[in-house]
């Protein structure tokens, strides 16, 4: 019976990205040993090349934000000498594109469903990673309080994959050269 289940899970993981993510999350939170994982091994398509990418994924993210939103350009630029209006004009576009990119790669959503300023009750078994408690913290959970910040979590994580050379691993943006 289990083999049928495993196969159907296998295909669903292949076909349905959200389901795949849920399986990954389930595997993580329940701390299942790898051997008992619901899916047979190598459920995802084989990665680009057999070679392990030699670049830290954080650099890939940085390169993506620079390419699509010019994020590095704007944070590297000294703001002295520009008026707020000038900064605003440029930032508006950069922020919009950053937002679009992060949405596509991470689909960031609030952790708490309630709006800020409204009441919220924690579960009895408190996950310390989900809550920062402030004010009069006393006694045992569940705690009742008012939401100051809703928190954030990523609901997917789909970074581009990179296949360049070791020498290119540190490059965030290439030199642009206009040939006349």
């Amino acid at each position: 019976m289990r083999i049928v289940q495993a196969f159907s899970a296998f295909f669903k993981i292949l076909a349905d990205r959200e389901f795949a993510l849920r399986v990954a999350q389930a595997a993580e939170t329940k701390e299942l040993p790898a051997t008992k994982s619901a899916a047979p091994s190598s459920p995802s398509p084989p990665p680009a090349k057999a070679k392990v990418p030699s670049r830290n994924e954080a650099v890939t993210l940085l390169a993506t934000l620079q390419r699509e939103a010019r994020f590095v350009d704007i944070v590297k630029e000294p703001l002295d000498g520009y008026s707020d209006a000038q900064v605003g004009a440029a930032t508006r576009d950069v922020l919009r594109e950053c937002g679009k990119t992060l949405e596509r790669l991470f689909a960031i959503r609030p952790l708490a469903e309630e709006d800020e300023g409204t009441a919220h009750t924690t579960p009895t078994r408190l996950d310390a990673a989900r809550y920062t408690l402030t004010g009069n913290v006393a006694g045992e959970p569940p705690y009742h309080g008012s939401v100051v910040h809703r928190g954030w979590q990523v609901t997917r994580c789909e970074l581009p994959s990179w296949s360049g050379s070791d020498e290119a691993a540190k490059i965030v943006a290439p030199v642009e050269l206009e040939i006349k």
């Binding site: 440029a90 296949s163 360049g164």
Partner: protein, 596 residues
């Protein structure tokens, strides 16, 4: 091996999308394939759609920068990276290959794209470009489903309803070369959009639509606009859908709007004394694409700032911006592309100058509403009854803008003249992916049963016959047109054309002029037209065949009649059948010789 999945492919002018469903499921459960593609040199990412662009790389780039997980030393790239390069290196980027595919003035097998590119760029043909997009989609599918090769699945590929038989044939050629299964099916895009809507309603559409009602499918894509009318009919008490009319191929779409806006904003910059360089102009085009939606929305701010970011790393310092007035922009786009007009208005014909470049035959009148008026007027008289669309189904990324939808509805209401105004079809719409989803739904219904839109061919077709008679020097012999394919001839049927015999010379290529009509809907096969009004019949590429000479026989010519077929897969075929022997020859479109 039997197919496990049904796969719908929307090969778009600017974006291509793949949708799929398991055939074994009880209900079609549709998914959109995430297509792995290059987003930057050496970087791949999976995205919902594949931009239909090809970038032809330099020699240096061919050493790995353009590789994909399934290729090596590739010298070109398709998809998002190619789309970005379109702005930076236009001479090396091919776009709108699909529009070229239906352009009769060029040889579509010749390497002509990028159009006007310098000689050192290895150009490709429109057919080759289409093949590359499809091949990429096939490879991306097989990467995700290594145990289900695409060639063994049931595949539905969409084409514009207005594609003529030649463009369909070329699409099929590209698709087979890309590795699609031989029995893949062609489906018209507006029909696919309607299938996608039908799928979202489950079976409730039978309660929502009534016999005699008409649905207008209005599909405004990036580069083209496609119009279709579908009518609700009844057969033995069961509701049926029938595609009753298809509009002409209109080369106007969302990209034209973005460019118009960019042009206007560049003018505003100039008023401030800021002259934009070519790079900034392209960047402005992108900014305008994002700003368009805001500027068109009713609730938006009265003034909006449009900025072009500085090019180098001095981003803030180099940024130039201009304030544009929402009202004037809305007026510019609305009045330019969806002008208010009466039902009697027609597209304006511009006098063509002697210097007209071949290029793409963009519409001389971008007023989509005037094209719509002409389309509805040409099809107002369906089966005797007056037919004003009861519903409209919007499709295409451009129509995500509520303001544009509202303008179309407003214009339709004015035209309705007291009858019930046209309303949008209620339900959930996914304007970017509906065509691919609908294609998969259609494939699913074909296999598993479900509602099918009946349609048949969207035009009637004619073969030109020169009349016998005394030749007058300097004057061509009068031409008559023999109807060989009636309007609405259904898939999987064939028809012997009753006509006088036509003599074909053996051993030499024979050519027939070939015409189509979207307005003459009542001509029967064998009907011979002596005269027709201008514009009623449109000449397409000629048909030709070479009949092998038989060494033993004395005959130099053979009498034949025509036979037409529309295959199950939606392809049109014309045959010559010998009347006193069993010979049978297929007439092919002579695409290669049509270029001027």
């Amino acid at each position: 091996m039997t197919a496990k999945y049904v796969i719908g492919i929307d090969l778009g002018t600017t974006n291509s999308v793949v949708s799929y469903a398991l055939l074994a499921a009880e209900q079609p459960e549709l998914h959109v394939l995430d297509v792995v593609q290059l987003v930057s040199a050496g970087t791949t990412e999976a995205r919902h759609s594949l931009p239909s662009f090809t970038y032809l790389g330099t020699e240096q780039e061919a050493s790995g920068a353009l590789d994909l997980p399934w290729t090596s030393e590739r010298s070109f790239a398709v998809g998002e990276f190619a789309r970005q390069r379109a702005a930076e290196a236009p001479d090396r980027t091919v776009g709108a290959a699909k529009s070229w595919l239906c352009h009769p003035k060029v040889d579509r097998h010749q390497p002509i794209l990028p159009w006007n590119a310098p000689d050192d760029v290895a150009k490709i043909s429109p057919v080759e470009a289409s093949r590359r997009y499809l091949q990429h989609l096939v490879a991306a599918w097989e990467q995700a489903f290594p145990d289900a090769p695409l060639a063994e699945q049931q595949v539905v590929l969409t084409v514009p309803a207005s594609f003529d038989p030649v463009a369909r044939e070329l699409t099929r050629e590209a698709a087979l070369a890309a590795g699609l299964p031989v029995d893949f099916v062609l489906l018209e895009e507006p029909q696919a959009a309607l299938y996608a809507w039908l799928a979202t309603t489950g079976d409730r559409w039978r309660k929502m639509l009534k016999v005699g009602e008409t649905v207008l499918v209005c599909d405004i894509g990036g580069g083209t606009t496609d119009l279709t009318l579908v009518r609700v009919t009844e057969e033995e008490g069961v509701l049926q859908l029938e595609r009753v009319a298809v509009g002409n191929h209109l080369l106007v779409g969302g990209d034209n709007m973005d460019l118009t806006l960019a042009h206007f904003v560049a003018g505003e910059f100039e008023k401030q004394g800021v002259k934009l360089n070519p790079w900034q102009s392209v960047s402005l085009w992108h900014s305008c694409r994002s700003a368009k939606e805001n500027l068109l929305s009713q609730a938006g701010p009265e003034k909006q700032t449009i900025s072009v970011l500085g090019r180098g790393s001095r981003l803030i310092g180099g940024t130039v911006s201009v304030e544009v007035d929402r009202t004037s922009v809305a007026k510019l786009l609305m009045d330019g592309f969806l002008p208010e007009c009466t039902a009697a208005d027609r597209p304006k014909r511009q006098r063509t100058s002697g210097f007209q470049e071949i290029g793409l035959p963009f519409e001389s009148d971008p007023g989509i509403t005037r094209h719509l008026a002409a389309f509805l007027a040409a099809n107002a008289d369906l089966d005797g009854g007056s037919q004003f669309p009861t519903y409209v189904l919007f499709n295409g990324g451009v129509l995500k803008s509520e303001a544009l939808q509202a303008r179309l509805l407003q214009v339709l209401e004015q035209w309705s003249a007291g009858t019930r105004p046209t309303v949008p079809l209620a339900g959930v719409h996914d304007l970017d992916h509906a065509v691919a989803r609908g294609a998969a739904c259609y494939g699913w219904a074909k296999q598993r049963g479900g509602v099918r839109i009946r349609g048949g061919v969207a035009r009637s077709y004619y073969v030109g016959i020169e009349t016998a008679g005394l030749a007058i020097p300097g004057a061509p012999r009068p031409l008559r047109a023999l109807c060989v394919v009636p309007f609405g001839m259904e898939e999987g049927t064939e028809c012997d054309i009753p006509s006088g015999e036509v003599g074909l010379v053996l051993g030499e290529p024979v050519q027939f002029r070939f015409f189509s009509s979207s307005t003459r809907k009542h001509d029967l096969p064998g009907c011979l037209l002596n005269a027709w009004s201008e514009g009623e019949l449109v000449e397409t590429v000629p048909l030709e065949a070479t009949l092998p000479a038989d060494a033993d026989a004395d005959d130099t010519y053979v009498p034949v009649r025509f036979q037409s077929r529309v295959t199950e897969l939606g392809m049109l075929e014309l045959w010559c059948v010998g009347t006193n022997n069993s010979g049978r020859w297929k007439l092919e479109f002579s695409v290669r010789e049509e270029a001027e």
